[in-house]
Symmetry: C2
Subunit: 383 residues, 2 copies
DNA sequence: CAAACTGCGGAATACGTTTTCCCGGCGTTT
DNA sequence: AAACGCCGGGAAAACGTATTCCGCAGTTTG
């Protein structure tokens, strides 16, 4: 495409960029024709003129001004992506998928980080909507804003993030308020022709890509049962963390399908972090872990924390007690023993989100990304 | 701010968004005054008028059209960020820092992923430049051949940069070509008033944030010497990987400062990956590791791979042989034993990049991010 | 053979801002 | 008292592009 040899000296007037006007003059046509020639409009332009315009554009190294195009067209060739935290591998994997698919479609990705705050998320959507992007992708927090009637059992060690999002029973005013505002904002945007896609967030009237947490946990449970395990413990996060809830539900169902029941005494609620996993494991070990053959932690980071805690308590993970996680993060293979987990193709989820956004019709559509069990040394087959 | 009860019906004409014109009419002033009132220009506007405009804007829920502003102003309030791969924690940490600082300054981040290809990187810069961002941040790959070193026209680069092409770096011509084009592109952009910042990339006539690899490695070497270690091995990557080269140089210097010399036989070149570390450790173990007390791998992932290899060979890391890495990635504390490393505050590097971009003068400036040695169980003190 | 129609170029307008320029009022200075 | 700033308002000109509308050929149609 680019011709390297003939020095690409852009005959530049140094101060400003070269505009469509310049191209038109160079090609000896009007800017209308130039515009039509360059981005093939509904109208046709004579082939000879078209090629002259293209030649002029190449010679002058013309680059269209996206903002000007945006003003004229009323929309921008961009995708607005809101994530909780770029540095979190969970989100960055999704972001990678979104970016890849967007770039393939010639769209630029603008990214914003919401932190843990729904408030901030709302602000960002407001700002981004101002940008008139073609698509808004929300890979929001995994926190459930719409806690139904389930009141937290006790106020003990609730995840800080969960606390910020509509805590307590009933509809917390602040929580549902910003949530409603967010939905309203997005609906207006959609009504104005924008596309909205949510990743891993159900129950909203938008296109959605969900992760098959339930199914993956179900299969994991069956696989572990098949490997000979019978006595399980589960480390889970607060009920308000939907991901955790789904995984526990799927896991329990899977066990039940294998004829195994889960003892409530060994279902430990803790934080959705490495520290939470460590804490839960410490408590379990303290209490005597003899009755437990294997621990399922609802995330890999928790599982990894748990393994360390067990080791600190004198138990060898994978020998004295097996451990399984969920997510299949990269370091799952780096820990010793390598961690059994459920792979979540987040990158694909991101790509799928873009596919939904670009291809879909007006009716809200939904796609589920399937997960895959990966057995490793942390859960050796029991004889 | 938002009034919840009195339904925020924005008096909307549903089809378009509300424009500055509407605000002006509502406030009974001209659009010029409205514009001045809203984004405080050099000109003053009477306080009464100003507040009326603000009130009108709030009432109508006015949002400025960034693209239109961009057209009028000639630049966009955005930061263009080019990274190698969002999913890589190295880049996503930098991205997090950049995003944080950018948002604090009211700028939106548009992100693009270059993969490993300098070609693609050039394309992206071309495209992004079209966007007229205020700042372009390049957090490129760490490989020399692709993006770093070798001054394009005058061979002024002394820093061993030129030597980097030595070990069969086949793609010399194509590389420097796209490299020169990239530099040219950025220089034009800069000449037009844009700010360019490179992260972890020296020898280019742009603002730069570098990581103190040399110093960190130097201090690590001294710390390890202080802990009683005397017989070292080093796992390094190809000479063309500048990061590796710097770390090895610093480490060697640090040893020398402690009166220790490094035996060439135990400097093993391998790939800059987990697999490379594994391979090198396997070879070393095979050859008999008795003469070595400790291995320094130039990156944590290599070190982690090496630990696994040692374990597979029957050596217990931290007891039979100590291991130290570099980067202090998250999983450094999750492996057993926890890995001694050098913390690299990448997030800060990203923030610093923005600070450079926003505050700096016209002359290329440079900031070095310092690193910090973190001793852990993989290198117990020798008695 | 006139009339309608088609294909395409160009002038002009629109898009939503910012910014320049002009203008009138008012307080201060000679 | 006239001249001279200064302050702030508004009309209008940018900014760079897409698109509507008009007109001119050349072609088809009745």
């Amino acid at each position: 495409m680019d011709e390297a040899p003939p020095a690409p000296v852009p005959a530049a007037d140094a101060r400003g960029s070269v505009t469509l006007h310049d191209v038109a003059r160079e090609a000896g046509v009007s800017i209308a024709t130039a515009s039509r020639a360059l981005n093939g409009s509904a109208r046709n332009v004579r082939t000879e003129n078209a090629s002259r315009v293209r030649a002029a554009a190449a010679k002058l190294d013309y680059r269209p001004h996206p903002s000007a195009q945006a003003v004229a067209r009323g929309s921008t060739p961009t995708v607005a992506l809101v994530v909780g935290d770029v540095a979190d591998p969970y989100f960055s994997a999704i972001a990678a998928g979104v970016t890849q698919a967007a770039e393939a479609a010639g769209l630029v990705v603008t990214m914003a980080v919401a932190g843990r705050s729904p408030q901030r998320e709302l602000e960002l959507v407001r700002t981004l909507r101002g940008q008139r992007p073609r698509v808004i992708v929300l890979a929001g927090t995994r926190i459930d804003g719409t806690t139904a009637s389930t009141a937290p059992k006790d106020g003990r060690a609730v995840d800080g993030a969960a606390a910020s999002a509509a805590p307590g029973d009933g509809r917390a005013v602040g929580g549902t308020d910003t949530r409603g505002a967010l939905v309203g904002e997005l609906e207006e945007y959609q009504a104005a022709g924008g596309r909205v896609v949510m990743v891993s967030q159900r129950d909203l009237p938008f296109d959605t890509v969900t992760i098959d947490n339930t199914g993956g946990a179900h299969r994991l449970a069956r696989a572990l049962a098949g490997a000979g395990y019978r006595r399980f413990a589960v480390f889970r996060a607060s009920e308000s963390v939907r991901t955790s809830r789904d995984r526990v539900a799927g896991f329990t169902a899977g066990l039940r399908a294998a004829g195994i029941s889960l003892d409530d005494r060994f279902v430990i609620e803790t934080e959705f972090t490495r520290g939470g996993g460590y804490e839960a494991a410490r408590k379990l070990a303290e209490r005597g872990a003899d009755e437990v053959e294997i621990v399922f932690a609802v995330s890999d980071v928790m599982a990894i924390g748990a393994m360390t805690a067990f080791r600190d308590a004198g138990l060898v993970p994978g020998e004295d007690i097996a451990v399984a996680g969920f997510d299949d993060i990269d370091s799952a293979i780096d820990v010793t023993p390598a961690l059994t987990s459920v792979a979540v193709p987040l990158r694909e989820a991101g790509q799928e989100a873009m596919r939904l956004a670009l291809g879909g019709g007006p009716a809200p559509d939904a796609v589920q990304i399937s997960t895959r069990v990966v057995l490793r040394e942390s859960t050796p087959a029991r004889r």
